[in-house]
Symmetry: C2
Subunit: 135 residues, 2 copies
Amino acid sequence: MSPSHIHVPHHCRTVTEILSRVGDKWSVQVVVQLGNGPKRFNELRRIVEGISQRMLTLTLRGLERDGLVTRTVYPTIPPRVDYALTGLGCSLLKTVRELGVWAIENRDEILEARRRFDGANLPEIGQDERRSDAA
Amino acid sequence: MSPSHIHVPHHCRTVTEILSRVGDKWSVQVVVQLGNGPKRFNELRRIVEGISQRMLTLTLRGLERDGLVTRTVYPTIPPRVDYALTGLGCSLLKTVRELGVWAIENRDEILEARRRFDGANLPEIGQDERRSDAA
DNA sequence: CGGAATCCTATAGGATACTG
DNA sequence: CAGTATCCTATAGGATTCCG
């Protein structure tokens, strides 16, 4: 791998692409749940909480396409479909967890920075307009 | 910190929120550039490449609000504004870099998984419809 | 049960023009 | 130089309905 101070646009795109996977609303949560073992479709649907059926489908398809999860169909009636992390998916989960640890560890500092910023910058435009925490 | 098998919804939201920061189109790229030292507005604009003025402004405001970068105004004419990473920003950069390393290391495996998936699942609907790499 | 299809809204983000 | 303001489009994602 090239040293980090050398800028390779080709790598840059790769990283950006992966980050947008990780940054989408559901992928990581699904991966985290699958980290506790394989799950069926509706099982995930209940656990992830808030996810729509459509988005669960799309998210799982995306993860499957990237080789992060496997999809196993049991042609029974009613049908049964199991989703599970691949090795690749597990290694992503490991890496992403560190980001999660960072987030939790620094949560308070971030929240306080936001309060300072909001207090310093826009107190004059009335008490609405701050949809961030008001709405 | 609580063990990772205990599900704290409060933490879950925090992590999701941070991930969406990291997953947005520009934040990480800006942070990476600032990792090489403080930069002026138009300097960033040129380096980041592809970013619109509007998005650079919004991205920097967001990072500033979260306490990840500082904004220093020199009231000269013409004006000069420097942006720099805070300690918090540096530590985020460190963590995010590991995800970047993962992405680069596993890029080929992911791309091949995609080829397999695309080849196996939708070769019948014609040669269009695959906006992912065609469009 | 595990989806696919359709419709709709909200947000992200680009392009352009103006300003202190 | 370093923005702000406005307009516009594209995408993400929710709700609902239908299907094998």
